[in-house]
Structure formats: C-alpha cells, structure tokens
Homo-oligomer: 335 residues x 2
DNA sequence: ACATAGACTGTAATCGATTTCAATAGTTTA
DNA sequence: TAAACTATTGAAATCGATTACAGTCTATGT
C-alpha cells in the first residue's frame, strides 16, 4: 500500500522540479504560470495523490470555513430540521457546520462561543439564548454572530425568525371562534423572547373578544411530551381549550386524554405549534401553526456567509421576519 | 470597545517581557517555569484577553480535534439520536463533531471523506455506506474510520452495531406466535448489509415454523411514512401481518389503514423497528424493536477517540454488537 | 573547590501552506 | 536603441503556535 501519509506541497515541488510557490500558484489558479509547468505540477499532484493541508491554508488565510450552530438539543425535530437545511446550504457554499448542543446551559453556550475566540470557526449561529445579550455581545469582536429563531431586542446583529406573535394570535383567535371562552396557556419557562411575543399574540386575541378578564390559567415548564402528560392533569375543570405552544406538549395532552377517556376536541380543544410531522399523524390530528423552517434556515445561512465573505462590520441589526400559517385539523374542530 | 482582533502569543510575550516560549510553556502547563514569571504570563493573558489560535495549534500538533459524522439525513430521528449522544460524548472529551449529510449520494460521501485527506478532521464515523468498501478503504491511510450501525463484512475497521438479525428474528417470531402465517416483508432498497441481516432473521423465524414456502411477498423502497402509505395499498389480500423494517413505514401503514377503515391489529398486524418516540404515541401504538442507540453512539465515540489518542494502526477489525429488544404494543396483539 | 545535576529561559527551527518581492527573459513602444 | 511592459519563476517572509537545543544560574555532593 502507498504510504502517502503527510504529503506536502514540498513533495510536489520536488517531484516536478519546481518551487513550491509555483505549485501553490497552480493550486490557486493564479495567472502567469507557463502552460507546460502547470501541467507538470498537475501531473505531479495527481501521481502523488496530493491534497493541500487545509489547516495550513486556514492559518494563512485566517478563515476556517466552519460555522458553529448552537441548538439546545438536536433531537428536537424543530432544531434538526433547521440544521438539516443549514448544513445543506453551507455545504453547497463550501462551509462545514459544527453542531453544538447547549442543553440549555449557560456555561456550555459560553464554551461554544469561545470557539470564535480561538478561531476554530468563522461565525456562530444562535438558535436559542441562555446568557444575557451583554455577555454574548463581547464575542462580536471575534466574528459574526447571527440569531435564528430566538432573538433579543437589544442585540445589534442580524435576526432571522418568524412572526411569533402572529402565530399565537391566529391560533387563539381560531379557538375563540370555535366558541371557547376559557383557554389555558402553556409556556416554557426560560426568559425567551419568543415566549414573550407569543404571549402578546395570545393576549391580543383575547382582548379583541373581550375575554382578557376571565383568562388567567397559565401552565409553566411546557416543553416535552412528558410535560404535556403532566399538564393534562393540572388543567382546571372549567377549561375547554389549551394553547400549548408546541406540538410535543399537545401530543402529550392528547395521549393522556385518550388514556383518561376525555374526548378531543369535544371536551377539550388542543392547539399545537410548529406543524411537526407527528401533528398530522396522531389521532386526532393536531391543529397547529406552521413555521417555514427551511426558509428561515436558508436565509440564516445566506446572511451568515454573506457576512463572512464581505468584510463588512458584523454589528448591524437586520431583521428578517417570515410569516406563519394556521393549519386547522381535528384537535380543535368538531366533525 | 477594546480592539482585540488577532491577539497572538507575541503580544502576550511583549506585554510581560518574556519570550514566547515561556508563554507557550505556561499555556501548556509545562514544568520548569518560575512561579513569578508564570503569574506574570497569566496576568498578561488575562489582561489582554488572549486565547491561543487553535488553527496554529492544529498545524503544529497535526490534530484538529474534529470528527466528521456522516449520516444520510439528520432529520431522521434514528440519526439525530445517534448524533445527539455522539456530540455530547465528543464535547466532554474535547472534540467537535462536523455534521455531514450524504443524502444517500456516493459523491457527497466521497467529498466528505476527503476532509480526512485534507486534514480538516482527525477521523470519520460512517453511519451508512454509499460507496463500495474498496473505495472507502483508500481513505484509511489518512486517519481512522469507524462504522456505526451500518457495516461491511470485508471492512477492516471497528464496527459498532446492534444485532440486526436478532431484531427481525424476534419480531417475526412474535408475529408467527400471534397466529400469522402470511407475512409481508418490507425492505429499503440500497445494498445495505443491515437489510441483509434483517432478511436472514426473518427467514430464520419462518424456517423454524415451516412457513418459508408460503412467504414471498416483499415490498421495496420502504423508508418513509409516505412509503408506508403507498405500501398499504400494495399489500395482497391474503396478508395478515407486515414486517416493516422501520417505525416510519409502520406509521404510514397505520395511518392509511385508519383512513381506509382497516382495523389494526385485527385485520392487519404491523411491526416496526427502532422504537421511535412516535411508535408509542400513535393509536394503535406500534410493536417494535428497540435498539440501544445511545449506547451504540457512546461506544462509537469512545472507540474513535481511543484510536485517535493512541497512535495504534487503524485497520483493525473489532466488532461491538449490542442486543435488541422486542417491545410489544397494540399493533400486533388483540386486547 | 569542582564536578554535576536541576531549574529556568530564550533562540531558532518547524508545521504546510500563501504571497510579496526581486530577478530574469522576452516584447513592445517611443 | 533605450525605456517600459509583460510573463514567469523562485527566495524568503509570514500566519501563530510548539519544541529541540543550548546556555545560564543555582544548589548539591564529594
């Protein structure tokens, strides 16, 4: 077997009797290389099976062509869809993405941001925030940071997201139009801005129908299917509908309702968020809010790479907001 | 704002009036650095906010501490669970993982393997194979390759996987014990070795009960929920059970059965594979085969990093096979 | 008192590329 | 015919670290 460990540009230069500058010029397609020499170099590279050491190239160019993507957990379908599309786009444009799971930890978020400081990556995409903006801001001097999905009003960086307020507004309005007057509201628990906007939309719909005063049932820590199961049991008797804030929670509630012979939507209407695959498959299928995840992911990557390739300042606030759509299914409407 | 772009070890050396070797020694915790100088260096680093450029370190050490993980698609829950655990383990041991989606393309697989040649990563983990082993083998000279889940009998590298044959054997046996005699078999379509082993297990069970002759219904291209919906309509009349090879396919079949008022399991028993979250939530819940995904992922990362840190040869065949478990649910048993 | 080991520290080479600069040869223009 | 280009090449500096080597100084042993 050929022992081709650690072939360098010097080996190529030696093989074809030229200097390494010339070899480098051929690699980088520079003008002013005689045709015959160029061919000699290409032949030598071919024969040796040489490929440039990209770490050395990274050092010279001060570019890694790697982007860190921070997500809470990749098994959450919302985030894995974001990442799938981001990776596809990045790969097309010659970039790699490095997966970073914060698992909701401030420390891990900072550790991953430090990759910007140590130049392991050229940029960072945040899909959630654990630390205060002022702490994250200090990393801006090392490279661009772009926010996707999550955002912060004070942040002076690009933010690509959907209109969360509209989502919860449309969902809540739909519930009210189905005749519901007492609607429980589920929220996460982190000090997320998404949550804030969603709450605004919820309140806006209630206000429009003069229902604000009678609605004050808020369930917290609503993230997972398990949380949904728990929440089902925490619902007061007089509640007829639940805004869950996530399809997982909705699934949990529906599952537990089935176990307890509570009819959905007759006895309890449930609305999800995200339009995840499962929302269409479960019985009853779940009314939910669709977010154009792939578009958001594409745009995010586009903005990031544009920032990387034009050396413009990275602390400019740009907002790209995508529209959401209400998807009506069985969990909120009688047949 | 502090303009701390591009601080190098030289800046630190200058700041504390020492040579960069001494600074480097402090960074790397070498012995033989006078206590006072060490403190001076630490103070200078602290004050400047210096962090070593890891690309330079990578060049010197010829190690990137990055591992490429090739998966078909990250949105497939099986792969996202693998990746979640791998990333967690890698991160704990100081490694980053780079996500590579082959989307079942030979070319993309080769492109990603080339990251080993250009030293962008220290090692590659394959969770599926698109190319022939002899083509992949040539990359072994550039760094370790470890196979996880998928495998190849000729491959002389570590392989971490579950006992696929046992999985289909247990599942099929279970169906037979429920009284089924004509069982349809779904398979992917790629020349996967997993598929081969599964088929062996299926046949083994049939043979044990002398049912081999009456069973020859094979449905191909069974991967997704959509495939499951299609396959439901392709099933011959006399079939009473389906071995789907994947929970997605099972979900599709169940969904379509519901639409067509076919009772499961009374008129058709369905068995999945993977024990995905959805298999427990759908109605009827799906009997399936559980694979210890997290254990497989952990072991894979452990083996990879061990290979990276001990400079032992990478072309040694080691097999770690984990057991599977039958999970009986509603889709195969009458109440 | 002198050899020797131990504790430090700095100089310079090195990792593998890219790029500036200078040198040379061959053309073209004034 | 000299000046001014253009095309081509290589030597050497550079990116930002680590480390082999050599040198200095101090302490210990005989």
């Amino acid at each position: 077997m050929t022992e081709s460990k650690g072939l360098t540009i010097n080996d190529v230069a030696r093989k074809c009797g030229l200097s390494r500058s010339t070899v480098s010029r051929v690699i980088n397609n520079h003008p002013y290389v005689a045709k015959e020499k160029k061919e000699a170099v290409l032949k030598a590279m071919e024969e040796l099976g040489y490929k440039p050491n990209s770490v050395a190239q990274q050092l010279r160019s001060n570019k890694t062509h790697a982007i860190a993507v921070l997500v809470p957990r990749i098994t959450n379908p919302f985030y894995s869809r974001l990442i799938e599309k981001m990776e596809t786009e990045a790969s097309l444009l010659g970039y790699q993405i490095i997966i970073c799971q914060t698992r909701y930890s401030k420390e891990r978020e900072v550790d991953y941001l430090d990759m910007l400081r140590s130049r392991k990556v050229d940029g960072v995409i945040l899909t959630s925030i654990q630390n205060d903006w002022k702490d994250i801001e200090t990393y801006l001097q090392y490279g661009p940071i772009v926010m996707c999905n999550e955002f912060d009003d004070q942040a002076t960086i690009p933010s690509i997201r959907v209109n969360q307020m509209d989502g919860s507004y449309l969902g809540t309005k739909h519930l009210i139009e189905q005749g519901h007057k007492k609607i429980a509201y589920c929220k996460g628990g982190t000090k997320s801005n998404i949550g804030k906007k969603r709450r605004e939309g919820f309140n806006k719909a209630l206000k429009e129908y003069n229902l604000s005063s009678v609605n004050d049932v808020v369930l917290t820590n609503a993230f997972s299917i398990e949380d949904g199961k728990r929440i089902f049991h925490e619902l007061p008797e007089d509640i007829t509908a639940v805004f869950t804030g996530g399809d997982e929670v909705a699934v949990g509630i529906i599952f537990e309702a089935r176990e307890n012979r509570v009819k959905i939507p007759e006895q309890l209407a449930v609305i999800g968020f995200d339009n995840q695959v499962i929302s269409e498959l479960i019985n009853p299928s779940i009314t939910t809010i669709n977010q154009p995840i792939e578009e958001v992911a594409s745009k995010t990557m586009e903005v990031m790479i544009q920032k990387l390739e034009s050396d413009k300042p990275s602390n400019i606030k740009e907002i790209y907001e995508f529209p959401v759509k209400l998807i009506v299914r069985q969990s909120t409407v009688l047949e």
